[in-house]
């Protein structure tokens, strides 16, 4: 395989095994663990291939321990692959060349790089010096990003006194100071409240539009993925499970939609059988599962046949669908 110039990131048959040793409980187990350690390889990522074009926003989905973080760290050069190939912008990430490092950035939701006792501004100027930015360049850049992130005087308050949301936004600012063109975000909204999550999300989407930066993102919050990522890559037990756009994932996962109806008068369940599978019937409330292609007909028939107060159509929640998918363990 090689290499369409339009591909920014090429991952080819990538695998990573970790060598681990198990310890039996108790003193005897400890002694055995010390003197006669049995190690074996545990696959974290197995034979994964995909390509990403410049400017894409790609979400990595998977349960805990699925291998998302390992995959992300192999792409930014923190973990050496056991086999296979990673190419990011023509660089081999694991060599961590200066030119490569200046193009990328990593944000980890559960780890911070800002100096705890000082205002973010101090850490920002340290980062600027490390990346060789002049004070002027740094100032312009900080102002620009601070405005996009809606950060003001928080930047001159000690980090330890900031809220988690303010801290995360400052972390993101620090990570973007050097105008990276590839962003690796590992759970960037972890622990944030709904509003703060939404602000981080809208910032990332705006940043992507303004700069054309490529964003690779893992998140536990489905809302992050649905709001930001047209394309998702699902990892299950270290293997590539699905790679494609989010909509068709939802469609293929669930060819039906939920139609909830509130009736003026109670009706018997038999009357609804011809429209679709009855999920729920409760006095005046009916919930039907209707396949997408029949949806418009069904809705118009319902409206003519019954006295309807309220009608609501929705997708089954995607995280529920993906959860089911992982449990089923089927490849689409």
């Amino acid at each position: 395989m090689h290499n369409n110039p339009s591909d920014l990131i090429v991952v080819d048959q990538l695998s990573k095994y970790y060598r681990v040793a198990n310890k039996q409980p108790g003193f005897k187990g400890t002694l055995k663990h010390f003197f006669d350690r049995k190690t074996y390889d545990v696959p974290a990522v197995t034979d994964i291939s995909f390509k990403i074009s410049p400017g894409e926003v790609v979400g990595f989905l998977g349960a805990n321990g699925a291998g998302k973080t390992t995959l992300l760290k192999m792409m930014c050069g923190l973990i050496h692959p056991s086999s296979g190939l990673v190419d990011v912008g023509g660089f081999s990430p694991q060599r961590r060349q200066t030119a490569f490092l200046k193009q990328i950035t990593l944000v980890m939701g559960q780890k911070q790089q800002l100096i705890w006792d000082l205002p973010p501004m101090d850490s920002l100027y340290v980062n600027a010096a490390v990346y060789g930015l002049s004070d002027h360049e740094a100032k312009v850049r900080i102002n620009e990003l601070a405005e996009m992130l809606e950060l003001g005087e928080e930047l001159t308050r000690p980090v330890r006194k900031l809220s988690l949301g303010q801290r995360m936004k400052s972390e993101i600012l620090a990570a973007l100071l050097h105008k990276p063109s590839v962003l690796f975000l590992d759970e960037p909204t972890l622990g944030l409240d709904v509003n703060a999550q939404a602000r981080v999300r809208s910032f990332l989407s705006e940043y992507n539009k303004r700069t054309g930066a490529t964003i690779l993102l893992t998140s536990h919050y489905m809302a992050d993925i649905t709001a930001l990522c047209p394309r998702v890559i699902c990892i299950h037990k270290g293997k590539l499970f699905y790679d494609g756009d989010l909509d068709s994932l939802a469609n293929s996962l669930s060819p039906s939609r939920e139609v909830k109806v509130e009736l003026k008068n109670p009706c018997a369940s038999e009357q609804f059988k011809k429209y679709g599978a009855i999920q729920d019937l409760n006095d005046r409330f009916v919930c039907l599962l209707v396949s997408r292609d029949k949806l418009t007909d069904v809705v118009s028939n319902l409206l003519t046949d019954f006295d309807i107060i309220d009608l609501e159509i929705s997708d089954p929640p995607i995280d529920q669908l993906i959860g089911e998918l992982f449990i089923k363990g089927e490849v689409n």
Binding site: Y18, K73, R96, L106, K111, Q113, D117, V130
Partner: protein
């Protein structure tokens, strides 16, 4: 190169600012340092009451060694301890990842990120003791002996740094490294007294195996104009080897880290 200097400047000014965030703590650190210093001069003065000698060193020239020790101890408190004991935390908390993705030498970052200003008075005092005691012992320094003194201090510091860094870097495997600080403190403390005050076997060990002599005795001899050139030469080679080894070891450790971490 300029980028590295600017980075150091910002590292240390932020370190200074962080320390001043906790004023009381800073004062206590200064007091503790003064206490240690007074104690060590007192112990040394005990050795010499009644005209006894340490090896063939007089009170004044032994005081030079005490001065060099104080200087190195100050440098340790200012630079080595704050930085190198922190490496364990970088590994344990996973923030080493951020350091590794910076376009700057990671060993440089980890070695100079912090600077504790509580070490500065000791550094100044140490140098003052060295020069005062050297004058008292009747030595006249030339620019040559000053130059050799600076070089031999550098040799001592690089050796101490390299050994410490090696131990700290091993935390990549052990994560919670044993208390390396104490081991190295003891090593440095052995250099408080002239190397010739120790039995022959220890003298040999302290010169060749654990190069304690290079930390204090040789710089003191340098300022007193007694250091033999071949020792200086040997010291240069030895310290370069230590330093190169620490870099190679770090590269090796990182290879392990990056192939094992998650």
């Amino acid at each position: 190169m300029q980028r590295y200097f600017k980075t150091i400047r910002l590292f240390w000014s932020t370190a200074f600012a962080s320390q001043l965030e906790y004023q009381l703590n800073f004062l206590i650190e200064l007091l503790a340092m003064l206490g240690t210093l007074l104690g060590s001069v007192f112990i040394l003065s005990l050795f010499f009451t009644g005209g006894r000698q340490l090896g063939d060193w007089t009170w004044e020239s032994a005081l030079v060694i005490q001065g060099v020790y104080t200087f190195l101890d100050g440098l340790t408190n200012a630079l080595l301890r704050p930085n190198l004991t922190e490496i364990v935390n970088y590994v344990r908390e996973g923030t080493l990842d951020y350091v590794l993705l910076k376009p700057i030498d990671s060993q440089f970052w980890l070695s100079v990120k912090k600077f504790s200003f509580a070490g500065l008075p000791e550094i100044i005092l140490g140098l003052s003791i060295v020069f005062w005691a050297a004058i008292q012992s009747g030595s006249t320094f030339s620019s040559y002996s000053l130059f050799v003194f600076i070089i031999s201090l550098l040799i001592g510091f690089i050796i101490l740094y390299s050994v410490w860094f090696l131990i700290a870097a091993s935390s990549i495997w052990f994560v919670k490294t044993w208390n390396a600080t104490e081991v190295l403190r003891a090593l440095l403390a052995a250099g408080r007294y002239p190397i010739s005050a120790y039995p022959v076997i220890l003298r040999f060990i302290f010169t060749l195996v654990l190069p304690v002599a290079f930390l204090t005795t040789f710089p003191a001899e340098a300022i007193l104009g007694e250091l033999k050139f071949n020792i200086l030469f040997f010291g240069l080679i030895l310290s370069s080897l230590f330093f190169i080894f620490s870099r190679l070891f770090w590269k090796f450790a990182l290879k392990h880290y990056t192939s094992a971490s998650s």
